[in-house]
């Protein structure tokens, strides 16, 4: 039974190339927990900003009339991957995990797979 901190720690240590991870409430844009990041990468700012990404995508799906859910969102930069995974479990309405990966070191397929496992372990 993992708590927030343990889950973030596990993401940080077990997913190769992770630079930072945050658990975010996307209605308020608040980071409920962050790990990693640093002076040149403020995870709280990134968390708040990425709520707009999730919201925009959800709104677009609404406009298109798609009756489906977002599993994850991948954003590819020159040197980083940003991975957003929406939590589905009951009671976790409106949370997502946000993962920043070093593109040179990360294995994207593995990272997605492991993030899925961490989500399940968070048991929310």
């Amino acid at each position: 039974m993992a708590n927030t901190e343990a889950s973030l720690k596990e993401a940080m240590t077990s997913i190769e190339g992770t630079l930072g991870v945050a658990l975010v409430d996307y209605t308020s844009g608040m980071a409920l927990g962050t790990l990693g990041g640093g002076k040149d990468f403020n995870l709280e700012v990134a968390a708040a900003g990425n709520t707009d990404v999730v919201r925009a995508k959800l709104r677009t799906m609404e406009h298109l009339g798609l009756q489906d859910e977002i599993e994850d969102v991948l954003i590819t930069l020159g040197g980083q991957y940003h991975l957003i995974r929406l939590l589905k479990a009951r009671g976790s309405n409106g949370l997502f995990l946000y993962l920043v990966l070093d593109k040179g070191r990360a294995n994207l397929a593995m990272a997605r797979h492991q993030l899925k496992r961490i989500e399940a372990e968070l048991e929310v």
Binding site: M1, S7, T27, S28, M30, L32, A48, E123
Partner: protein, 258 residues
């Protein structure tokens, strides 16, 4: 009206001082209470927003009986949170997230600007018990960020506390399900806090939804009627910040003597 974001210290100098001296107790403000343990925020409550009991029982999949049993068994020992997890009623992660959500939500309202002075009672702790303490700085920062977020969505706070009403404008764009549920409860009587209680959702989330609905022109605050057109309502004098203590004592004594 747009105001420049105030520096963090301006939010509550008293709270800052209590954090610096690593105080333990309850900070009671006009619109809510913050519980501190060794200078960190461990819990918050506000009448403006549903408590963690409502959040857990409506959104978190906990049965009301389970909640009350936990309060009965572990309330006196101030370990209700621990008991809920240990007895397998609520997963640890879920309790933590729900509690953090409730804490920041209540803190937003408790730290709202007020003219009433705050009071601090040393040594008081909350019966929910230790879940996950948050630094005072983080709470103040988050509260300011939330104020700015609301301001950015729709810069009119009139609908935050007044009863709300639907406008005549038809819904011309799809409204997301969560916001739709908020819209459906707007009836000219309910306030944002009432809607939050009804839905079992944090009141700040409801405010975000309502400001977006206001920005879309779908919802507005009920304009207060002039006194003359509202018959049958007794006009009470404004609550004074300086109560007549002697008079209150006499009243209490008289009531006790009945």
């Amino acid at each position: 009206m747009r105001t420049a974001p105030a520096p963090v210290t301006a939010l509550s100098p008293m709270l800052q001082r209590l954090a610096d001296e690593r105080a333990t107790g309850a900070l009671m403000r006009d619109r809510g209470t913050l519980y501190l343990a060794e200078g960190q925020v461990v819990h918050a409550e506000s009448p403006a927003t549903p408590g963690i009991d409502v959040l857990l029982t409506t959104g978190g999949g906990l049965h009301r009986d389970g909640w009350w049993e936990a309060v009965a068994r572990a309330g006196a020992g101030q370990r209700v949170g621990r008991y809920l997890v240990d007895s397998g009623r609520v997963p640890g992660g879920a309790l933590e997230l729900c509690h953090l959500g409730a804490l920041y939500d209540a803190a937003f309202f408790a730290l709202a600007p007020t003219r009433t002075p705050a009071r601090f009672r040393y040594g008081v702790s909350h019966w929910i018990g230790p879940v996950r303490p948050v630094p005072v700085d983080a709470v103040q920062r988050e509260t300011l960020r939330r104020r700015e977020l609301l301001e950015r969505i729709w810069p009119d706070a009139a609908g935050d506390s007044a009863p709300l009403v639907r406008t005549a404008r038809p819904v011309d764009a799809p409204v997301p399900p969560a916001r739709r549920r908020v819209l459906d409860l707007v009836n000219g009587v309910r306030t944002a806090s009432d809607i939050a209680q009804e839905l079992g959702r944090p009141a700040f989330h409801v405010l975000v939804g309502l400001r977006r609905l206001a920005a879309a022109g779908l919802v507005e605050a009920v304009r207060e009627l002039p006194a003359a057109t509202a018959p049958g309502r007794v006009a009470l004098p404004e609550v004074t910040a300086d109560p007549d203590v002697a008079l209150l004592r006499r009243l209490r004594d008289a009531l006790e003597a009945l």
